[in-house]
Amino acid sequence: MLASHKWLMEWSGLSLAPSEVAKRLTSAGLEVESMRACGENLQGVVIAEVRAMRAHPSRDKLRLVTLFDGEREQEVVCGAPNVPEPKGLVAFARLGATLPNSMRIEERKLGGVVSCGMICSEKELDLGADEDGILLIEVGAGRVPGAALADALGLRDTIYEIGLTPNRPDCLGHLGIARELCALLDKPFAWPSPSLPQRWLSAATTAPTDPAQAFSLATELGAKPAQTVSAEPPVNNVRVQIEGADRCPRYAAAVVAGLRVGPSPFALRYRLHTLGLRAISNVVDATNLVLLGFGHPIHAFDLQKVRGSRIVVRRAQNGEAIQTLDGQSHKLSDDDLLICDGEGPVALAGVMGGASSEISASTTQVLIECAYFDARSVRRTSKRTGLHTDSSHRFERGVDPRGVRGVLAYAAALIAELSGGAVAADALDVYPTPIAPKQVRFRSAKASALLGASIDVKTAAGIFERLGCTVRALGSELDVELPTFRPDLSREIDLIEEYARVQGYDSIPTATPSLRPSVEGNAPEIGFVRRLREVGAASGLWEAVNFAFVAPADLEKSRVSTEAPRVANPMTEERSVLRTALLPGLLQNLRNAQRHAQHRFSGFEVARVFAPSMEAVLPAERYELGVLLWGLRQSWYDEREVLDFYDAKGVLETITHALTGSICQTLLDESLDASAPFLHPKRRAAVLVQGQRVGCLGELHPDVRDAFELEGRPVYAVLDVPALLAVAQACAGKPIEALPRFPASTRDLAVVVSEELPVGEVATVLHSVAGELAESVRLFDIYRGAPVPAGHKSLAFHVVYRDPKATLTDKLVDEAHARVTQAAEQRFAGAVRK
């Protein structure tokens, strides 16, 4: 919402500095987001009087105008078609002036004649949109040659941009903001009065066809119609019919006839311009000024184009069409409200007028509509048609149903003033079920307890009255009648807020609550996921945070489930489904890293993945851990080392150990073909902790790698967090083992086995035959090459023996180790190296 400082001061009767206004409004919840000074950048632009004019010696379209700028006469070249006769006033930019569009005024030769300055248009001075000719200045006080334009025309103003919250429709007009300022400063506030109409239509020509709908506009304005005229052509008396008052509880209309459509005076055009609206014609400008002034949208129909002497407010028929003022055609549904004349739609209620009854240059009679439409209905129509207008913006937030007559009277008087028209003394007001103001009880004890501040009931009553409420005191309580222009007020808590807001939140003390902690504590998953992230980072990885939505194509390319919940209104196809796995996001991250010529990628992510649910309304959400490794290992001294399967396995070992107390095992598992098709079939494994399957690990399948245009051999590991948590919970409370009291004895053993035989199997066999004395069997070397035959490898193990109850004798160890050696010889075809 843009608001003019000058206008606010006019209507509030206050005299404040703009910075003070901004501070007050912001601290009352009407946040002033920015302030713009107007009329401050027109140094060197003055009023000048035309003294003479003659043809340009060589150019048809240019003329030489002699001007007096208060100091001297000079001749300037001007191309505008509307240079006034001598004595006419124009805006003159002297040499050295800089115009708002950054144009610098210097001596210029135009068609061989030197021009010392420039006569300016509205557009060039940023005073309006008109660029068809120069700005003509009407004679007025202080408008003498040489007067600074900004002073002479009263251009100086400050425009506030207020970030209005949707609960405050009353402040979508200057009236409401002015009232708010008066309330904040404890000053009286009065409605503005328009200039009273000079001419009225004689009653005989304007009597409403339905007397029950009539009310006296003259009485509303406090005027006594003096000079009456009859309209020519005679005014078509209109009858209003509301079908379905739930959508349109109130509809009022007034008539102004014998008017002449033309441009508005400069001051009005300038005000609209500074507030972001374009001046169109006096009638339309008046309706816009009323909208910006009162926050209540009104509409003017060309009365002679209203057919059948009727206004009907009804719902559209399904498929019915209307062409709106902007030239667009809209197909409507029976949820849209129309204003119709005797033959068809003339306006989309509360949103935009129709093209058929639009004000034109030849309009001489207007019907002014001021209505109260149901907010939700206007909003739905606005959303459906995509027409978000100044009007719909206000109606959907709620205008004042009780303000209708006052706004209508002001509008009629303003239109008459600007267009020379005569106002019909009688107007229409159809209001089948008047909307009564709400009553609320305010208890100062309740308010004191809620705010934690002691409340003086008299102060509260004063605040509510200043805000427009009617207050009746009942001891420490108040009966408060709420104004209908504040739809956000409906219960006691709203008044408590108003009290706090007007007093200022600074006035409320600070206190410390006495805390009563809950016994429930946190769900186990919360701490577990946190620890997972911490351990992930401690394992040397950096943490990624990707969007929850991904491209459906990425799910397919990364060979994870494509059964993904879909967003109904995504911003782009790239983010249109919820991720069913973390893999696609991490692969995109890797691709970006490779494109940026990074040498290493070691990222992990812990986040939720989604799956549609058969039985529940909401999709299933579950935390997953993804680890993606690629590139050079972190060592400068051996650049050839590349992160591989075992790096990822090491990370998983660290993580599972930290979170469950047990190191994970990896297992070949054919079922991964189906459950993890994104992994290389020969370079992948299932991951188990304590025999429970918690995830998988492996090199990326070459098809996936190529689909994402990745280089190298990225390794991916994924853990199911709920499964891991279940293992962790099952293992919880495992006591720490006491330290051994007796020394261990270590023997080494090397076995030559076929390349295909997994090390794990060899170790398991050795451990099982070594018996109870063997504490561990640990690989320490793999050797390939002579004398080991091709296709074979030599595995060297440390076998650690220990008796928990006594010191081992060499003899016992030798016996045990002899068994191991013998078993190895038998089992692995005698290829034991000693």
Binding site: S27, A28, G29, E31, T165, P166, N167, A375, R376, R379, R397, A449, L450, L451, G452, D488, I493, D494, E497, A500, Y505, I508, P509, T510, T512, P513, S518, E520, G521, I526, R533, E534, A537, A538, W542, E543, A544, V545, F547, F549, P565, R566, V567, A568, N569, P570, M571, L578, N589, N592, H596, S602, G603, F610, V617, L618, P619, E621, Q634, W636
Partner: protein
């Protein structure tokens, strides 16, 4: 040769050679070997001493004194030589080339938690220290939990403040039934439906709005907290949040509460803290792009939980009151780490993530 002559010869030999022998030893084992040749079990001096009983009585005393003197000399010489050898050894160890300290380290493989995670943990810890529990809720939630139960009127422009991603529904189901939550306030509803007062809960997580520009990301992180009990007041809300903001930004940072509107709180407000970029409260007013010279930055939204919310979750609004607050973690992370574009937080560029 008689015993005395043998004794004299041995004594003389030893006396004239042990110095040279010790000097010739260039390390400790050689020195100890040389020493053994004189005073070891088979040493010259030891052998000489074994002749003592056979010496004539009248010469025994004099010769005995000489052999003892010689032994002392040898011991002293040994100790001095040993000392000099050890010294030389230590000197050698301490001399030579200096390390090339400019070589890169081998790398300790330390990782990096995401800035949003760090900020989240830090904030959750702050509230945990105040006695709050932590809870989470689903990212896809019901329209009821995200809007209706929080008091958003149907078809109200208040919902425009949070442009929503709706989830696709099968034909015949209300097309707005489920959505990506637009705020973490859904957790308020879920926890209140599940538990009874008193309760103090804080929740952090991803939220979603249809917005995408330099300052808005369609997914971002929010932290939400609320407390419900008998007698909870706006003054306490101010107390808790001021305490929290002082812990987060440093004691004494200006904290300003001003009215604002969120359908689910009343009185509702926004909280500004002194701009941490220009610190104008310490240094005086100055030009600042971040706070647009206002000296303040908006940091969180808050208010007293609206009675309509209590009615929706079955709490008696006459008996219980509560406060709630919410803030963007992205904003805190951006302030904390001086990040200018929200996109960096979700780009997952290793060059960005490994700087922190």
């Amino acid at each position: 040769m008689d015993v005395v002559a043998a004794f004299e010869e041995g004594l003389g030999n030893a006396a004239s050679h042990f110095q040279a022998a010790f000097e010739a030893a260039h390390d400790e084992p050689a020195l100890r070997a040389a020493n053994a040749r004189y005073v070891g079990p088979q040493g010259v001096v030891t052998k000489v001493m074994k002749l003592m009983p056979e010496l004539p009585k009248e010469q025994r005393r004099g010769l005995g004194q000489r052999v003892n003197q010689l032994k002392e000399q040898i011991e002293a010489a040994f100790a001095a030589r040993l000392d000099s050898l050890l010294h030389a050894l230590r000197n050698a160890e301490l001399s030579g080339h200096s390390l090339d300290v400019s070589l890169p380290g081998y790398g300790a493989w330390l990782g990096y938690a995401h800035p949003l995670t760090r900020v989240k943990h830090e904030l959750l810890d702050l509230f945990t220290s105040l006695g709050f529990d932590i809870a989470e809720g689903p990212e896809v939630d019901l329209h009821e939990n995200n809007f209706d139960r929080l008091g958003f009127p149907p078809d109200h422009p208040a919902t425009d403040m949070q442009d929503t991603f709706f989830m696709q529904q099968p034909v015949g189901v209300n097309p707005r039934a489920t959505l990506l939550r637009t705020h973490t306030s859904t957790v308020q509803i879920r926890e209140m439906l599940k538990r009874k007062p008193p309760l103090a809960v804080v929740s952090a997580g991803a939220v979603f709005r249809r917005d995408d520009d330099v300052t808005h990301s369609p997914m971002f992180m929010q932290l939400e907290g609320f407390m419900v009990d008998e007698g909870v007041s706006f003054a306490q809300l101010k107390g808790v949040l001021t305490h929290f903001l002082w812990k987060l930004f440093g004691k004494g940072i200006p904290v300003r509460f001003r009215p604002s509107y969120f359908p689910f709180v009343e009185p509702g407000g926004e909280v500004d803290v002194g701009c941490t970029i220009c610190r104008s409260w310490e240094r005086g007013p100055r030009e600042c792009r971040v706070c647009k010279n206002t000296g303040f930055m908006e940091i969180l939204g808050c208010g007293m939980i609206h009675p309509v919310v209590f009615e929706h979750v079955g709490y008696d609004p006459e008996r219980f009151t509560g406060f709630a607050f919410g803030m963007g973690l992205d904003r805190v992370a951006m302030l904390r780490y001086g990040i200018s574009e929200v996109g960096l937080l979700y780009g997952n560029d290793p060059r960005f993530l490994t700087q922190l």
